[in-house]
Amino acid sequence: MDNQVPFAPELLELARQFDHPALAQIYDTYSPGLYRYAMRLLGDQNLAEDCVAETFSRFLQALQTKRGPDSYLQAYLYRMAHNWIVDHYRREPMQPVELTEEHRDENADPEKDAGQHLRQERLRMAIKKITPEQQQVIALKYLEGWKNEEIARSLKKPVGAVKSLQHRALANLQRILNREEFL
């Protein structure tokens, strides 16, 4: 599966000139994926929106100071988003989410939902405990479905290094989850 969104280099060139339609197109193309990515790792809609907003804000700042991406805009944006997520992990430890009336859904299966929610939170906690690069590999590979070559571009590492990171990340993740009797 190729998850790279087709990208015209001319679009990035126009974005460097702060061309309004080009920037709007970039936002419309990449913000939904970035939101999903942040949401999967953070589990909070407000935080995910903050992540997307801050990622695009940093993108504009980078364009202004001529430090923007040379190419592979998608890889660049996901790297920025992941940096924000890692910073957030460091700033604020993950809080347990309490189920309130707001979460109530008449058609839902509360037992099933609660179980899934719990599993999601445990996996997020486990992912948080591995290194930032391992987190990014796991998230891009198994949550976003990227190919190793695409991940390598985002991490600015050779494909071999990505495979190695992936191997260590899975082993670490499995060890953490086994210790917590999740699996």
């Binding site: 709007a24 949401m39 809609q45 907003a53 804000s57 504009l60």
Partner: protein, 381 residues
């Protein structure tokens, strides 16, 4: 375990994380809007491209100080240059500092003055067009900046933007077909971008700002339509522009007799000062024309000096040089207004504070096309 062969339980755990609630549309729209607003602010302050920066002095000045031998004449010259730099440097810094100012700030008149000064310099129409397009972007950014700061938009900003949009059309009408068609695309793209910004601003604007934003939107829509038409039919575009300015000049439909708003940051072109009597708008016989073969719309220059000269009531078409003495010369804005060379100006009161509303030939939304006193009779075509 091979890295690609994922443990089934781990795979199920990842699948759990795939299920996330959909993004709230309002939050997504708000995020997009904020991003584009931020981009507008960045666009305003972005520096010029490296090849447009004034950095050639690096290669000129530094080698002078690296010479081993002394050059007395050169030293004197350097001293004079340095003295002048110290004397005039303050002015330059002020002008530079004013470029990011908003209409409610003290340095804003300096900003508009510097824009007018740039437009008053002679140069190719293409250069003027690029400047005017950039200046119109500035006006839109100023509107965005003022609204973002919770401040009202002075009408002067709106008038100035409208004048710039008009000037863009006039300059393009004066170009030959291939060049005009090429510029139409640029004009349309810019207007579309500005239109998008206006739409975005409308969504969060206070009620008091809505009339100005709506008028600006309508004007931008017209700009898009005219540019689209010009891409397909440059000749028809010229006729349309000619007709448009004739109608604007004499109908008195828009803003009769208001003249420039006192808060107006100033005319687009410093040479276009309001005339004392407001009579006549036509250039008279052969305004801005010299000698040569008569062109379709007459010759003239591309300079943005659109001030009609006093003229008689019935002028004859005057031949001019144009860029091609054998063919239709490039049009100047005055040529567009008066293709036949007769002084059929729109009449008195154009942009005059004393103009009478509703009368033919009085009032216009074109505050910068004020005629000079002269023989214009106010004849309406």
């Amino acid at each position: 375990m091979k890295s690609d062969e994922l443990d089934l339980k781990l795979k199920n755990a990842f699948n759990d994380l795939q299920n996330i609630p959909p993004r709230a549309p309002q939050a997504a729209a708000r995020g997009r809007e904020n991003f584009l607003k931020q981009a507008m602010v960045f666009r305003q302050v972005v520096s010029r491209k490296s090849d447009q920066r004034h950095n050639r002095w690096n290669n000129i000045i530094f080698p002078l100080f690296q010479r081993k031998e002394r050059l007395p004449v050169l030293n004197t010259l350097i001293a004079v240059v340095l003295a002048m730099s110290v004397f005039f440097g303050g002015t330059g810094a002020t002008v530079y500092a004013a470029q990011g100012s908003l209409p409610d700030e003290a340095l804003y008149p300096v900003k508009t003055w510097s824009e007018d000064a740039i437009l008053s310099l002679t140069g190719p129409a293409q250069m003027h067009l690029n400047y005017v397009l950039d200046f119109s972007d500035r006006r839109v950014a100023e509107m965005a900046g003022l609204l973002a700061a919770g401040k009202p938009i002075p009408e002067g900003v709106e008038y100035r933007l409208q004048n710039e949009l008009d000037l863009v059309l006039e300059l393009t009408a004066g170009m030959d077909d291939p060049q005009a068609i090429q510029q139409m695309l640029q004009i349309r793209t810019r207007a579309e971008t500005q239109m998008q910004t206006m739409t975005m601003l409308m969504s969060g604007a206070p009620e008091s700002a809505e009339p100005i934003l709506l008028r600006t939107q309508a004007r931008l829509q017209e700009q898009i339509q005219l540019a689209t038409m010009g891409e397909a039919d440059p000749q028809g575009f010229r006729m349309k522009i000619q007709q448009r300015f004739q109608n604007q000049g004499g109908s008195g439909e828009q803003t009769p007799g208001t003249g420039n708003n006192p808060q107006d940051p100033g005319p687009v072109n410093p040479t276009e000062m309001p005339g004392p009597s407001g009579t006549g708008n036509g250039p008279g016989p052969g305004g801005n024309q010299t000698t040569g073969t008569p062109g379709q719309y007459g010759p003239g220059s591309h300079t943005p000096d659109r001030t009609p000269q006093p003229g008689g009531v019935s002028g004859e078409p005057t031949p001019g040089t144009g860029s091609n003495p054998q063919g239709p010369g490039p049009m100047s804005p005055t040529d567009i207004l008066v293709p036949t060379g007769t002084s059929d100006g729109p009449g008195p009161g154009m942009n005059q504070p004393t103009g009478t509303p509703g009368q033919n030939g009085s009032g216009s939304q074109m505050p910068n096309r004020t005629p000079q006193p002269g023989g214009g009779s106010g004849h309406m075509p």
